[in-house]
Symmetry: C2
DNA sequence: GTCGTCGTATGACATCTGTCATCCGCCACT
DNA sequence: AGTGGCGGATGACAGATGTCATACGACGAC
């Protein structure tokens, strides 16, 4: 038997993080050698502990698990990357894959899949929920341009056009134009729905 | 030593649920005798397994952990209730307490507090984060009336006034009135902000 | 028995939002 | 050299949204 697999666990909610560590701790061949609660601590921790696999939640302070994945993939290409998320958003899957992730798991999958995924990525396999993969392919790429996305993201908290214009250094008319095109591309009828749909798809 | 404490675990994300079970399983005096993924399965499971403590997540399909807590509290008053949530929203704490909860934990608290809380509630203690308790008291009660809350909740997905009116069997004018008063009570400038603030406070 | 609050409704008004046509400069591609 | 997309802008217009005054019946508190 090979030496134990060294795993880094990145997840901001301590209780969940430590519970996942307990879960992985039950496996003989897996050892959680590092835990971090922020996206921007992933890279240094991965390097310091010479981990084999990094298990990354997406929603984290500092930076997202996807951004962290990209950093690790670039700096430590040998480290396998498992992205773990609450939301099975097709857009997330797409970005995770583009960031170099080897596995994409949703938190409502059975717990047993976690350890399995760790072993599989180490064996060179990729682990992706086929349903989600299909959904990601079916819905196509994010149709929003960079600016449209930025404006929509900024509008998500209920800011008015005037506030958005000031915050983004744009004219009010331009803000309205971007929101208007975003609304049309997403086939909805107002900015609130646009925000909701873009969020659901992981396009925000 | 008394017999092991029988715990029911209610949490919709399997991976998190099973991980928490693994965590509690490490404690000698605690046994997870039942797991459910839906709020509306809590009561029957609690009854069937004669549990001592029910550990309830708030965000669940079926019904919320808070509603489930109220049901259990009424039907099985001897069962101790621990509410566990991702969001430390003061309004949640308030409702949980009103529903008869004995402990209120946020998921970003250290994992060790979970088992401790289970033991404490069984000993008759109440477990509440003091910071959160202070916040809940400081911000006062939910200022929204039942109808205002319903309309705001329905408006959260970006529905237009016409759709809201149809869905709630109200006139469009009435919908606007409710949203307008809600907007004023929350001291914000439009429905989107009102939704955001009400959510943050746990008033939705 | 009156007062305040809630739920519901209307009408008028001002402002905000969404749409559309049109324009400019820039850059990439052919 | 021309085409097309993107970022940015303006102006006009229609419709949605937010505000306010006002009204009425129900109900609970005092």
């Amino acid at each position: 038997m090979s030496p134990t697999i060294k795993v880094l666990l990145a997840e901001d909610q301590s209780m969940v993080r430590e519970a996942l560590a307990a879960l992985l701790g039950l496996e003989d061949d897996i050892e959680v050698v590092a835990q971090v609660a922020r996206g921007d601590e992933v890279l240094t921790a991965a390097r310091e502990h010479a981990v084999d696999v990094a298990l990354l939640d997406i929603e984290m302070p500092g930076c997202t698990g996807i951004e962290a994945a990209a950093q690790v993939h670039k700096a430590l290409p040998a480290v396998k990357l498992v992205v773990l998320t609450t939301f099975g958003r097709p857009g997330y899957l797409r970005s995770a894959m583009e960031a170099g992730a080897d596995a994409f798991l949703v938190k409502d999958a059975p717990a047993a899949q976690l350890a399995q995924a760790v072993r599989k990525v180490l064996a060179g396999e990729r682990v992706i929920d086929p349903t989600l993969a299909a959904a990601a392919l079916a819905e196509g790429a994010n149709p929003l341009t960079d600016r449209e996305r930025e404006v929509l993201r900024a509008a998500a908290d209920g800011s008015t056009n005037a506030e958005l214009a000031a915050a983004l250094h744009l004219s009010q008319g331009t803000v309205r134009n971007y929101l208007s095109t975003a609304i049309q591309k997403l086939a909805v009828r107002n900015r609130a729905e646009a925000v909701r749909i873009a969020r659901e798809k992981g396009w925000l």
